[in-house]
């Protein structure tokens, strides 16, 4: 049991980091950006191409992060240009289209051949319950915590955060107050793309690295974000970590492992229902 839990650390860090990005993007751009992992995939494959062409890893990874950011900026521009006034539902639907589009484009550009993906953090940190904890897992979890706290501080303690929040909640009022929102929004998209690329650069070398599998990391990330109701950063962080640990624990147990894929969603469903019990009650009255 403990072995399974420890082995789920890397997955937990991944889900938490991506879940946090989803939450932040929802709070700041009112979009459930389902294409966020796919933009990270662009970063990974650009890095792989450059490494193959003989670039040193550091430079290639940096170029990959920039490419991921640019892909995300493109998605953001489409969103702000044509769907700025659409509600969250419409923008989320558009992001599904962007996800499918990115996957299709990635297959056309990069093909389906496995790539050489250097692992920037494959050192071993410790051995707990017979499981080797890698540098990658530690960095992923640290990155998730850093993203969470960093964004929390940014939003609550800085004037930029104040403007970002204003822009998300009352975009038109903010513009009338003379604050340009378009550039800010696109910057948020770009930064998320860059962060997603960093996460995926750490994840891709140790998971199934085909375009579809990596892009679909968005599903557990969504589940993590839902634990926080797409608003609470702490919820997304704990949700992601919990989901990873649960996945690991269930894979290691012979009796429940066939229900492994179902359990996390049952848990999330329960949390959602529990969280909304007051609202449902109020609405019913």
């Amino acid at each position: 049991m403990l072995q399974g839990v420890v082995s789920g650390l890397a997955g937990g860090g991944t889900f938490a980091a991506l879940g946090l990005l989803l939450t932040v993007m929802y709070r700041l751009t009112a979009t459930v950006n389902l294409a966020i992992a796919a933009t990270g995939v662009v970063g990974v494959y650009v890095m792989a191409l450059l490494v193959q062409a003989g670039w040193p890893y550091g430079v290639a990874a940096l170029a990959g992060i920039v490419a991921g950011a640019l892909a995300s900026v493109c998605c953001g521009l489409i969103m702000t240009r044509w769907f700025a006034t659409g509600g969250p539902q419409i923008r989320t639907a558009v992001s599904i289209a962007q996800l499918i589009g990115l996957i299709a484009l990635a297959y056309i550009c990069f093909g389906d051949e496995p790539r050489v993906l250097p692992n920037p953090a494959d050192g071993r940190v410790a051995t707990v319950a017979g499981v080797t904890i890698t540098m990658g897992s530690v960095i992923l979890i640290a990155l998730a915590v850093l993203i969470g706290t960093g964004i929390h501080v940014l939003l609550t303690r800085t004037s930029l955060g104040l403007r970002l929040r204003a822009m998300a909640e009352r975009p038109i009022t903010t513009e009338l107050l003379g604050i340009g929102t378009r550039a800010l929004t696109v910057t948020v998209w770009g930064l998320s793309g860059a962060l997603a690329s960093i996460v995926l650069l750490l994840v891709a070398p140790v998971r199934s690295s085909d375009i579809l599998s990596l892009s679909m990391l968005i599903v557990p990330a969504c589940a993590a974000a839902l634990v926080g109701g797409l608003r609470l950063l702490s919820g997304a962080l704990l949700g992601g970590l919990g989901l990873g640990l649960l996945e690991g624990a269930l894979a290691g147990s012979a009796t429940v492992q066939q229900y492994r894929d179902v359990v996390p969603f049952v848990v999330i469903l329960f949390i959602l229902v529990w969280n909304q019990r007051g609202e449902v009650w109020d609405a019913a009255r």
Partner: protein, 400 residues
């Protein structure tokens, strides 16, 4: 209410009968159109050429074979026209492609198809149309259980059985475990493979885990293999899955377990992507291992593929073999080459030996075909594949 229901039923019946009429008449009509002694001999294939998983090499290799036959004067003076279609990994597109080939183009047979969906979607249609398919790469269980289809490859299920057999009987490992990713309708076929091995050897897998998903983190699974004391582990992952698996093994510093993969990860790309991280990983080559540069069995295949710029892969071997078997069979036909005469020739086919496979290719009128029942085991060492079993590992049991 009843009246309108009856009307709907009547309409449906009319639509059905007219549909059936079309699909039954047209193939025969167009078949006779392209048959006889003149014009080209049309051969078709349905392939995954675009989409998430692509197999372009099989049909390219088959085309290379047909082009060479044409350059040498064709079959009794008639050229082969090879029509390659793309199913995009989409069942609807696969159905459309097969109907276009058989009904509109009037192909006399299919050869070198490599697809994930072709067999499952089109097998009943091929049987109904009286056409045969010499599949280059069969993956779906239907490829091996249809009277109209006989793949040249061993397929993942027999591959699994051979690997289990190799682990328990050749490597003499007592604790053999299997970790399987079950995609689509493959669960029963894998179950049959394991049951067949159990029947043959009297052994059962210590772990039979079928819950691996393509996007799973393999770490908990490799740890489970270690915890359960597995000495040999069979895994059916595709290229990226096998890479992730071996990297997890390396990360967790697990030693003393033999890792056996199916044919899928036996590629140059996997060797390159894994490098020394893959040291010791076995795979099961279902044809004469293509990475052996000096193999005399591969001389013709290698020179033809190099000449026509087709990548040297296992899929290319399948396409080459399928096309070669078809050409040999076409040459043996006395009289006009039509869909009927080609089907008849395959139904009466005597097993064809080939240096590329361990067992002869068969068609015949069985309800299902799985004639390639051997593999050569290869192992990764320092980012290079080397052949471990110079002789074929032939599977003595039967599946299903």
């Amino acid at each position: 209410m009843t009246a309108s229901k009856a009307a709907v039923a009547l309409l449906a019946a009319i639509a059905l009968t007219s549909g059936c009429g079309l699909s039954e008449d047209s193939p025969a009509a167009s078949a006779s159109g392209s048959s006889g002694d003149s014009g080209t001999i049309k051969i078709g294939s349905v392939n995954a050429l675009s989409g998430p998983v692509t197999f372009p090499d099989s049909s390219s290799a088959a085309k290379a074979v047909f082009d060479r036959v044409n350059a040498q004067g064709g079959i009794n003076g008639r050229e082969i026209e090879y029509i390659v279609t793309d199913d995009k990994g989409d069942p609807a597109a696969a159905a459309q492609a097969a109907r276009d080939l058989v009904t509109n183009q009037g192909v006399v047979a299919l050869a070198g198809s490599a697809s994930l969906v072709d067999c499952a979607v089109n097998a009943p249609f091929y049987t109904q149309s009286g056409i045969v398919s010499v599949q280059g790469t069969g993956v779906d269980p239907t490829c091996f259980s249809s009277a109209a289809i006989s793949p040249v490859n061993a397929g993942p299920y027999l591959n699994t059985a051979i690997n289990l057999y190799y682990a328990s009987e050749v490597l003499k490992r007592d604790k053999v475990c299997s970790f399987l990713a079950i995609l689509g309708n493959t669960n029963d076929a894998y179950g049959q493979a394991i049951a067949s091995w159990t029947k043959l050897t009297g052994k059962t897998p210590v772990v039979d885990d079928r819950t691996v998903k393509p996007d799973s983190d393999p770490t908990p699974f490799v740890l489970r293999a270690k915890k359960e004391g597995c000495q040999a582990v069979l895994y059916n992952g595709t290229e990226p899955m096998a890479i992730a698996w071996m990297k997890a093994v390396k990360q967790q510093n697990i030693t003393g377990i033999d890792w056996l993969m199916t044919t899928a990860p036996y590629t140059d790309a996997v060797a390159k992507a894994l490098g020394t991280d893959g040291d010791g990983m076995y795979a099961n080559a279902e044809f004469e291992p293509f990475t052996q540069a000096d193999s005399s069995a591969l001389a013709d295949w290698r020179s033809l593929m190099t000449e026509k710029n087709v990548p040297l892969t296992s899929f290319g071997q399948g396409g080459y073999l399928a096309a070669t078997h078809l050409v040999d069979t076409l040459r043996s036909i006395q009289g006009p080459i039509t869909r009927e005469s080609v089907a008849k020739a395959f139904k009466e086919l005597k097993p064809i030996e080939s240096p590329l496979t361990g067992t002869p290719y068969e068609f015949g009128d069985a309800a299902g075909h799985m004639s390639n029942k051997a593999g050569k085991i290869v192992q990764l060492e320092g980012g290079q594949w080397r052949v471990v079993t110079p002789d074929w590992v032939r599977y003595p049991g039967t599946l299903g």
